[in-house]
Amino acid sequence: MGLIEIIKSGFSKPRLISIVYMIQLILALTIGLQVYQVFGASIGNSLSLEGLKEGNAHMVINDLLNTHGASLSPLLGQVRWMVIVYLIVAAFVHGGIWYSIIKQYEKTSIWVGGSTYFLRMLIIGIVMSLIFIIWSALVWGPYLSKIQYWMEALASEEPILWGGIAIAVLWSFGAVFIFVASCFCKIFVIRDGIKVRVAMWKGIKASFKKTWKCLPVLFAFFMILALLYIMHSLVDDWTLFSTTIGVFVLFLIQQLVVWIKIGLRVSTYEYLKGRL
């Protein structure tokens, strides 16, 4: 299967993508609307708003934070809680996505799959996240703990930087293996109906065996994501978007990026299902 076909396979389920998108949007809106409210209540009648639109915002934002920071900082706490809530919601959502990919894709698949496999997805998610945390600590811990010492001992930061990049690459490889393992594990649970514990073991083993061959496609996906981010940050800077209509157009572009990212996730799942 070529890359285009792989991508197509994911985007052939627009309804599924859109449901996931809507769930994420609703959660994000609760923050976005509060940001709107706080800004409106604190500087809503100020002429400084002109500056905000033009991206010439350092002074406006800092004065806002200095004076009204207390009303904005709780939002950061909310984002933290939202991530935790979404992790639980995600167990449901991903159960639904996997069910739609593996079993059947119908109007109600995401709800059926989500409710059937919620707990199993949650357990797999938690265990894999723990493995990921351990992996991260193992790889980054020794490096980070040495930085202070290296600052005093080394004549150049070059090895620290390149060492950091090398570790980031190694860490990413590990992350990919863990990601593939978690996907395989979910496939085993849903496709073969085996127990989570067995599926996890099989998933990890399969990941070690098969991830290597998947790397080019996964890397291609990663590059597409990176490209999306770069494109967004480039257009974000355009003065074209410094009008009210421009702000709206930019919002549409941002939402399209988010939607495409979900589609790519579904495509990745389709691809990995095909590899097992």
């Binding site: 809106l29 009648n45 002109e50 996240s129 990921f132 004549a155 150049s156 009210t244």
Partner: protein, 653 residues
């Protein structure tokens, strides 16, 4: 008769100090002295890099320009502040300097400076004691008092021959060595204190111990420094090079370098085998950058920073009178020696492949360069009036950077833009407690956010003065301040007088209250914050003579702070026109009312943002027709980022 003898003696001594026939490098652009040259030094020293020591001789020629007969002198022995935990500097800091914990250091990691022998003419001096003029810590050895064998009469020049030994500590606050190859010699020699008349008219030694929140203070003079060292070392420092790494007969592998610096207040130098020298020039100035090999790609940025600074100061402040500028970009392990200023020698700091869009390395180099004017040429007492250099330098750092890179001078990366003056203003405006010690507090007595006040608030005050006075008029004022105070020790009063003069010469909104402004800004911790409470417009029911509807237009303004400054008001009308008014700021609430055929739409206090000290500009204006596009931009952006965060966080779920 005695008078004639003194005169002849003085002539002889002067010729000894100043007739350096063998000097061919020209440290300044002038053939004649630029300063009074009160404190002059000739060094002949040996640098032993394995031990991080210098030993040798120091000849001091010090002119008594006071009406007093001097019987003892005081010397700064600042390397002794790093002798061990008992020094006032380290005990005050609780052994923690800039995040560096100094506990558990080995013996070799401490430094010292000792005078091993002192001679005045043929008389050997034995009466030398460490004194503590600022605290009663008798363990502190940062000031040495030497009782002279012969009195120094007013107008006479003392010649003192010292033998001394200095050892660098592992770097503490810029002085020291890092890993056996990097050696930074600052505050490394016995240095003359300043004998001066204080503001009460009393003459005495101004020679403070080395305490926290203290920098340096010295008289201008000439330095002739000859250093013997191993030939693999690259060496750079203040002044010009009279001789560079010349082999010494009979000493295999040892070379001599000689620096000459004129009309400077100090001398610093660096030696390391792992530095690369890059040369550039700007008009009469030879620019030398010493950089670690890994920073090769950054050299242009730093050299450009120097050249832009030189040009800006030449245009806006005064001529750079020296022929050299040496910059050090320290290696990683020498970074603690970075970000500091010495006469014609400055140190910065950078990182390998530092993004071009973040210009902090340029900005900091500009900052250190600016000290050549504020600290070195205008040699204020950095211990007592730190704002006169750090505040002015921060202001000029912002001016140079914005002149060079525009309004996003500090950061311009991925659409995130920050200008220097906005950054500086925010350092002050974001201080959680702005009621700390005022700007003009003596440095070592300051309580509160030192950086936010001494550096940033001062710069913001200067920015405010510039905006009220006008850029050209401000330049003229500073040029006057520079010309009349260069190569002296300016104090607060010197600056205040030029400000008052300029505001009298060029009347503006602030002129009538400039005296009160200067007191409130510099000697108090008052806060400026103007805000608009409301704006309204409603039909009055009446019509004017032409039958047009008349409107009641009103607004209420509030002075939230206790700092009163007159400001301009701009009233924006619905038809697109505007009118300007003035508010003296005296009453805490200021109602605005106009009966007009036009409808008031918005009001802006200080529309040109001249009053840069106002801690919140957002509340300066109020409009009945707000454009929410900007708020939507941030709301939609936060939606986008939350979506991305939850997507990434759930990649294993």
């Amino acid at each position: 008769m005695r008078w004639i003898l003194v005169f002849i003696l003085a002539l002889l001594i002067t010729s000894q100090v100043h007739t350096q026939d063998d000097v061919h490098c020209q440290p300044t652009i002038s053939d004649t002295p630029l300063s009074e040259r009160l404190a002059n030094y000739i060094f002949n020293i040996n640098f032993e890099h394995e031990q991080h020591t210098v030993t040798g001789t120091e000849k001091i020629f010090w002119k008594n320009n006071s009406p007093d007969t001097i019987r003892y002198i005081r010397l700064y022995m600042y390397l002794n502040a790093f002798k061990g935990p008992e020094s006032s500097y380290l005990s005050e800091a609780n052994m923690n300097i800039m995040g560096q914990n100094l506990r558990g250091r080995s013996e070799d990691d401490w430094g010292y400076v000792n005078v091993t022998k002192a001679r005045q003419g043929d008389n050997v001096i034995t009466d030398m004691t460490y004194v503590q003029p600022d605290d009663d810590n008798d363990q502190d050895q940062s000031v040495l008092q030497i009782s002279l064998a012969q009195d120094i009469l007013p107008g006479e020049t003392m010649i003192l021959d010292l033998e001394f030994a200095s050892k660098l500590p592992r770097t503490i606050a810029r002085s020291g060595f890092a890993n056996h190859d990097f050696n930074h010699f600052v505050h490394w020699y016995p240095k003359m204190g300043v004998y001066e008349e204080d503001i009460t008219g009393k003459w005495d030694w101004n020679c403070h111990q080395f305490l926290r929140q203290m920098e340096f203070y010295g008289d201008h003079g000439n330095y002739d420094v000859t250093i013997e060292l191993d030939d693999q070392f690259v060496i750079g420092g203040s002044g010009c090079r009279q001789m560079y790494k010349e082999p010494i007969a009979g000493k295999e592998g040892r070379v001599k370098t000689r620096f000459i610096a004129h009309d400077v207040i100090d001398f610093g130098w660096v030696a390391s085998p792992n530095l690369v020298e890059y040369m550039d020039e700007w008009e009469h100035v030879e620019i030398r950058l010493l950089s670690p090999p890994a920073h090769a790609s950054l050299t242009k940025r730093l050299l450009d920073a120097a050249k832009h600074s030189l040009q800006y100061f030449d245009d806006h402040v005064g001529v750079y009178p020296y022929s050299t500028l040496t910059m050090l970009d320290p290696p990683l392990h020498g970074l603690r020696s970075g970000f500091m200023e010495y006469p014609t020698y400055i140190t910065g700091g950078s990182f390998y492949s530092f993004p071009k869009g973040i210009r902090s390395m340029e900005s900091l180099m500009v900052h250190e360069f600016s000290h050549q004017y504020f600290m070195q040429i205008l040699a204020n007492n950095e211990k007592e009036d730190p704002w006169l250099d750090e505040g002015f330098v921060t202001f000029y750092e912002d001016c140079v950077m914005e002149d060079w890179h525009g309004s996003s001078s500090l950061i311009d990366l991925f659409g995130y833009k920050v200008g220097n003056s906005s950054f500086t203003r925010n350092e002050y405006a974001s201080m959680s407690n702005k009621r700390t010690s005022p700007i003009t507090t003596v440095g070592y007595e300051f309580i509160g956010d030192y950086k936010g006040t001494i550096y940033s608030k001062t710069a913001t005050v200067l920015q405010t003065l510039k905006r009220y006075l006008g850029a050209d008029q401000f330049d003229e004022m500073i040029k006057g301040y520079f010309e009349s105070n260069k190569f002296t020790h300016p104090r607060k009063a010197d600056f205040i007088s030029v400000v008052k003069e300029a505001f009298a010469k060029y009347p503006n909104l602030l002129s009538s209250s400039i005296d009160r402004f200067l007191v409130d800004a510099l000697d108090e911790s008052k806060i400026v914050d103007y805000s608009v409470i409301n704006v309204g417009s409603a039909p009055s029911g009446d019509k004017d003579d032409d039958g047009n509807q008349l409107y009641h237009n009103w607004s209420n303004l509030e002075r939230k702070g206790d700092f009163i400054v007159p400001v301009e008001l701009r009233l924006y009308w619905k038809d697109g026109s505007w009118t300007d008014e003035v508010w003296d700021g005296v009453d805490p609430i200021h109602p605005v009312y106009e009966l007009s055929t036009k409808q008031l739409q918005a009001i802006d206090i200080d529309p040109e943002r001249k009053l840069f000290l106002d801690i919140d500009f957002n509340n300066n204006s109020y409009t009945l027709a707000p454009d929410n596009g900007g708020i939507w931009k941030y709301a939609t952006r936060s939606i986008y980022w939350v979506q991305n965060i939850i997507q990434s966080a759930s990649f294993l779920m």
